[in-house]
């Protein structure tokens, strides 16, 4: 069952220096703040045992093995501010550190209520791209105001079947159907569950 790692030695990058967020005063708390790039990035920052995920070539197209689901428990998606200080020697890398998502790859236009996420699978054939994209979409669906339009895509040149992955990630009927599949929903929920401190 366990095949060799697709990406046994991922390149790990330094986390970007965070700019300080001002602590809102009592009055400011009720002011509607525009949503910016950093906020969306924080929503999406992922703690993930990335190369572990890419170990298994079984994908949800072929059905989900229990072992695969167990691995997905390790895949967690949460706010960076919760994640960044967690020290878990077994799951050391966040999506940020692997440059799967960088702040620069998030385009936000609050005026137009538009977000575009461009993520970079670490290996060209990573079969997890559609799952990660689905998790990103669900996280944003749950976090952003409903007026937002969200496009999610893999970075140009980063995936062997780039256009097919992009098309599937942005077909809302397929997303809706996927989110009625209990196995997939469990998986996404596990991915999105807040990390324990």
């Amino acid at each position: 069952m366990v095949s060799e790692l697709i990406n046994a030695n991922p390149i790990v990058y330094e986390k970007k220096e965070r700019r300080a967020r001002s602590v809102p005063t009592a009055v400011e708390e009720y002011v509607v703040e525009p949503i910016d790039q950093q906020e969306v990035f924080d929503i999406l920052s992922l703690q993930l045992f990335w190369y572990g995920l890419c170990t298994f070539k079984s994908t949800y197209y072929r059905g989900i093995s229990k072992l695969f689901l167990l691995l997905l428990l390790l895949f967690s998606l949460t706010f960076l501010n919760h994640v960044r200080d967690i020290k878990d020697p077994e799951h050391p890398y966040s999506l940020e550190e692997l440059k799967v998502i960088t702040e620069d790859a998030i385009e936000v236009d609050d005026q137009q209520s538009y977000v575009r996420i461009t993520f970079t699978p670490t290996v060209e054939h990573c079969s997890m791209a559609t799952i990660i994209g689905l998790c990103l979409r669900v996280k944003l669906l749950r976090s952003l105001p409903s007026r937002y339009k969200v496009d999610i895509r893999v970075a140009p040149g980063s995936h062997a079947s780039e256009s097919a992955v992009n098309k599937q990630l942005n077909d809302k009927e397929r997303v809706a159907a996927a989110l009625e599949n209990p196995n997939l929903v469990d998986m996404v929920d596990e991915c999105l569950a807040p990390s324990y401190d």
Partner: protein
Amino acid sequence: MEFHEGACELKLLQTLDGHTDRVWSLAWNPATGTAETPLVFASCSGDKTVRIWEQNPSLSSSSSSYSSWNCKAVLEDTHTRTVRSCSWSPSGKLLAVASFDATTSIWENVGGDFECVSTLEGHENEVKSVSWNAAGTLLATCGRDKSVWIWEAQPGNEFECVSVLQGHSQDVKMVLWHPTLDVLFSCSYDNTVKVWADDDDDWQCVQTLGEPNNGHSSTVWALSFNKTGDKMVTCSDDLTLKIWEMDSTSMQSADGYAPWRHLCTITGYHDRTIFSVHWSSEGIIASGAADDAIRFFVEDKDGLVDGPSYKLLLKEEKAHGMDINSVQWSPGEKRLLASASDDGTVKIWELASLCTGNGY
């Protein structure tokens, strides 16, 4: 009939709440909207239900600017997943309902109560669209399993599958029968529209309208015919609408099938996926899209030099708070349009002429 930009306005008559999830689709009962029968339509939703809405007859005749709509019935506890689409039989007696739970249910209106009289099983997974032919004798369904099924209505509300059509390489988004001929059209995630015809009880694909014949370059979500059925409009994730024409010169050919050809492309208007398009009996094309806008197009009679073209008549930005999944013109006299959205509402609009008495 001539329509000019600025000569019409879109008036919101009512916003209908009730669904607790996105509204995917709606269908007007074609046998309503007469003097005796108030307008009725069905809407279906991610909340797994179908709602039947009826116009209040006492108010509809007296005033064009105000009408009241009520939910007359909720069809629930039958489908276990999203109800994706619904279609009335031509007589308006039966409603076919397609669901992601892989089944299609048939409902009969018995004195105002709706009873599920039949369930069609066979698709492997999500059923996405259902359509009756003009005579009400055939039903077509399609779904994620890439197949199109044709069912024949038998006495006693039985439905027998007469053909399973394979041909699309991806999930099939919508099926629609031609308004007068027993020719079936299907559109798909594989970017094509396929035309299916019956050759001596053997249904087969007689034409594929794809990118090589000026077709769409991404998912084709919906299609609609003009009143006479010699033109068709398709809408797509490629942000365009395309007009197709039946080649009338070969209409007299022996096999009875007239091929379709691309006439023109309406491009540069919607900036997100166009999910729905509907051609009114007066020739006005309405489109609803993921940009939350409804747009209306009419044939541009001035532009015949460069071939047929269509112009924007009117656009309604922010018609809904979220994606618009379906736009449908009502039967009957009034120029009413219903739109269904991810925001969980259905809105009833009237496309009104600004100047009265000018011959509309």
